[in-house]
Amino acid sequence: MAAEDKREILLEVKNLTVDFKLGRRKFSAVDDVSFHIYKGETFSLVGESGSGKTTVSRAIMGIHQASQGDILYKGESVSGNMTGSQERKFRQSVQMIFQDPMASLNERAKVDYIVSEGLYNFKLFKGEKERKAKVERTLRKVGLLPDFASRFPHEFSGGQRQRIGIARALIMEPEFLVADEPISALDVSIRAQILNLLNKLKKEEDLTYLFIAHDLSVVRLISDRIAVIYKGKIVELAESEELFRRPLHPYTKGLLSAIPLPDPESEKNKNLLIYDPSIHDYDKVPPSWCEAYPGHWVLADERELDLWRRR
């Protein structure tokens, strides 16, 4: 435990709230969310559609403004106004992999440009030759052929496109990668390629990931720690196996029970748990963020915490 705490915290999200305006009304897509990510780990955020996963990741990337709270990268705040050099450093070392490989590549630019876009922005090469070499190296790293550089995105299959997107991030030699559902738009048979690639990079390049998905079976495979987010609030956070072994929050349980398994027999006997938020009685005492077991946090009130622990 103590040893763990010595790990370097790469990113810290403190009480993050992101509001959106809907007409004249405001609502919080992300509501007072806190977590941190250690260097070298894969931290996953799961939750149903619309729960605010993307919003968290975009707030980290500075695409959405945080209404409240702070985001610290290597101890420096990146949510407010950064200085020019801070921003440059941040943009270089933090990269994002996008969900939809169809939409996230500029259709009218060649792969060569797409991959080297960041290099251009930060002038990370001396001459055309060096740039070309970098592009080639990176393409190879993600398992693409170097001569793809002269082609347009639409000539590629979904998996190949996604790898182009990853190459675009990798070429910047980032330390931290935000991956917002990088596989959900892909075909089953291709997902594995990407997951393998991400794993390989983690090992070889010592990358840190914030991994977002709603597919828990994937998350389990890839992540060190998992946070479950529900309607803008994190309801449970634990080490990956711990969470699967001992889910506490009813929402987490519902989520786990709904995962379809590629096994006819277990599916036959499937027992679907449907989460009903009205079981909580938060009117008087609002829930708090408690550590139910070491490193296993859950959002609950005293009574619930007791009850869930007992089971």
């Binding site: 921003e87 994002m96 996008f98 939409a103 500029n106 876009e117 960041g118 251009y120 052929l145 910047m172």
Partner: protein
């Protein structure tokens, strides 16, 4: 079938990555798609020949389109060998005038289209991309589009001296905004698209985002708008001629010719017919060719 058939074949995962497509070039595909359509190709050729001829005619032929005949027997001559399209009420050669007029009208239309589209694209891209500009640009748009175009054209051509540049200024100072609006709508839909978000995450500066991520997607709109502006400008010149604010007399333009021909149409139909036919062929060709080219420039239609 040899037994060999049931042994493993050599396998190379890299080869499996190869995609089926050949090297692709946007413009080549656009052009190839375009020329597949026989109608538009024909019209393009016709248009090209007409435009080329009208540009070359003044060089090739020495007939002065403004040469007034003092001999009244040369006035209003029906088409014959000396004057292929006949002569007008002052003995000016309609054939020569038609080509000079075509040249003027085309130059005018191209100039207007150039400014309209040029300003419109830049303004529209900024309008769509820079959120802060939206309110003010929208108001400018509302204002400009709510001043009736006739008021505007007439006021300007009245305040300034009627002439080529007056028409250009009058048309372009107004025309750009509709194009800008089109562009803006498109840009807005592009602005939030994932690949732009990706670029922003990579810290790409605005000018390159516009140049690389936005403008290339507007090619078909740009072509379309250019194609629409050209016949529209030619028509506007005819209209201005009708209300007496067209190009000056010594400039031969299709607008002038149509208006002159019109007043004598019942008497000397040929004076209206030929300029009109040429004009119609040009405007219709531009319209169709432009549309088809815009279609062709949409990569969805490439194969």
């Amino acid at each position: 079938m040899s037994d060999d058939a049931f042994t493993f074949a050599p396998w190379n995962p890299e080869a499996a990555e190869e995609t089926g497509y050949s090297h692709y070039s946007y413009w080549r595909s656009t052009f190839r798609t375009f020329i597949k359509n026989r109608l538009s190709l024909t019209l393009l050729i016709i248009m090209g020949v007409l435009v080329l001829f009208s540009l070359l005619y003044p060089v090739l032929a020495s007939v002065d389109p403004n040469k007034v005949a003092l001999d009244s027997s040369l006035w209003n001559r029906r088409p014959d060998f000396a004057h292929i399209f006949g002569t007008d009420g002052l003995g000016r050669d309609i054939w020569a005038r038609t080509w000079y007029g075509t040249r003027t009208s085309i130059l005018l239309a191209f100039t207007i289209a150039f400014f309209d589209v040029g300003i419109g694209v830049v303004a529209g891209a900024l309008w769509g991309y820079v959120r802060k500009s939206d309110q003010i640009m929208t108001e400018i748009y509302n204002v400009i589009t709510n001043i009736p175009s006739t008021v505007y054209l007439i006021l300007l051509s009245y305040i300034m001296k009627p002439g080529f540049w007056t028409i250009v200024i009058a048309m372009s100072s107004r025309g750009w905004i509709t194009i800008a609006r089109f562009i803006r709508n498109k840009v807005i839909s592009l602005r939030e698209s994932e690949y732009n978000v990706a670029s922003r995450c990579l810290g790409t500066p605005l000018n390159r985002i516009l140049g690389k991520n936005i403008i290339p997607f507007l090619v078909s709109i740009i072509i379309m708008q250019t194609a629409l502006t050209i016949p529209y400008s030619i028509g506007a010149e005819v209209f201005l001629g009708f209300i007496g604010l067209g190009l000056p007399l010594d400039t031969v333009s299709l607008g002038n010719m149509v208006n002159q021909g019109r007043s004598n149409f019942m008497l000397y139909p040929f004076q209206l017919t030929w300029p009109t036919v040429i004009l119609a062929v040009i405007t219709v060709s531009f319209y169709i060719v432009g549309n088809k080219f815009a279609d062709a420039s949409d990569p969805k239609n490439h194969l």
